[in-house]
Symmetry: C2
């Protein structure tokens, strides 16, 4: 399984992904699920993927093939709007899946992959898209400014409680790390390291990017302070009526 | 959908359930998913259910039929150990599902139900069981002292961070309410009111029981304080390196 998350706030975009893949419980491996492409001043794309690793890798390979082919009909450098790039990735994904459709049906398996594409093209607004296995896609909304793929449920409550359009880029990044960490704690098929990318709107430059292992001081400190903070929040929850009565009883009487 | 949760801590048991059922998005209704049975001094059973409402209601009806039949082979009042009651409920559930098996297959639908059974029989330890649609069941473990059925993922991270065997009964109840509330916020198929039951070990008496609507002062206050506490915890998370540099720069220089 996998968990990838993209947030779109007023100041920019945040991307976060885990690094665990598994085919059954007896084949677990670590793969990066985030690719960054940048042509400074021109365009920036970040791509994350969940689902069939074979399909995901084939799409990445096709992207590189087209980038290196000056005669390619379309590539990550084409398109005036980011949604055209999303369409292109949807087509690559569909083409790859169609190739193995019959064999996959025979094995009763799925070659489906989901993608999150985010970034900015000069002169356009920064955007994020969730590209479905069927090749169609959606963007995030004003009210729910995030997109998730993979094992999405464990990490959703914290996003619903914290994230708004007005959240700062750094707070959005911290919230993404908490959302990933909650998922890692509750589901063994999602695992560290956590990759984090932050893109500042209109910078049209390499996003900040860092990989946090369990031993990274920032990740360790964040985990500890979040756990401590949650316990403090929990201790401050209201008492039930009969607990109040107990607490009001004078000692020794 | 549904979310039901049972916790087994050193001092007793906590049960919590939501009240929303839906058959598609255009038929949403409110049903209690928790039944309590108590014979003071003798035995206490709490039963919660998710899945097919038809199967769940049929099992509840069969339980009442057997309780009212002095010649019944088995009923909730029979069995010296609680696992025998779990076996009995598994059998009722299987019998009901078998009755409609062919018709359900034709409609490509499922009549499966999951149950959580908890309680205590005089002279035995208090226990909780998750009874699967197949009729078999598991109990909670020392390390993971809770069981969930229905829409379980959204509410799991808070349990994994807070709950241990040594948690007090009241804290376990508060944590159950937070777990339910997180699920209600993130998934529209789980909805209020929240039913809560608390059973103190060896009391062999009616569990404390309360239904919290969105307007209940305790639920309102808990929601607010939890949201506030989470925001405080979030604000105290460590800064990224470059944020520290910014904060350290003397003003006006």
């Amino acid at each position: 399984m996998t968990y990838c998350l993209a947030l779109k706030v007023n100041r920019g975009l945040v991307f976060a992904s885990d690094s665990r893949t598994n085919a059954g419980v007896d084949y677990v491996a670590t793969y990066s699920k985030m690719r960054r492409y940048c042509w400074p001043g021109e365009r920036v794309c970040v791509l994350m993927t969940s689902g069939s690793l074979a399909t995901s890798q084939a799409v990445m390979n096709a992207i590189n093939r087209d980038l290196n082919d000056p005669d390619a009909e379309f590539s990550l450098r084409h398109g005036k709007q980011l949604y055209e790039v999303a369409q292109y990735i949807g087509k690559l994904s569909q083409a790859e899946q169609t190739l193995h459709e019959k064999a996959m049906e025979k094995s009763n398996a799925s070659a489906e992959s989901n993608f999150i594409l985010g970034g900015q093209i000069a002169g356009q607004a920064a955007e994020i898209f969730h590209i479905y296995p069927q090749g169609n896609f959606i963007s995030a909304s004003e009210d729910t400014p995030y997109l998730q793929i993979g094992e999405t449920k464990y990490g959703k409550p914290i996003l619903d409680r914290i994230i708004a359009k007005t959240t700062t880029l750094e707070d959005a990044a911290r919230c993404a790390m908490v959302s990933l960490d909650s998922t890692i704690r509750s589901n063994i098929s999602v695992g560290p390291p956590i990759e984090l990318a932050m893109y500042q709107d209109d910078s049209l430059d390499e996003p900040f990017h860092h990989t946090y292992t369990l031993n990274s001081p920032m990740y360790k400190s964040m985990k500890k302070q979040w756990t401590d903070g949650l316990h403090r929040a929990f201790e401050q929850l209201p008492r039930f009526d009969w607990e109040k009565v107990k607490a009001d009883e004078p000692a020794g009487e």
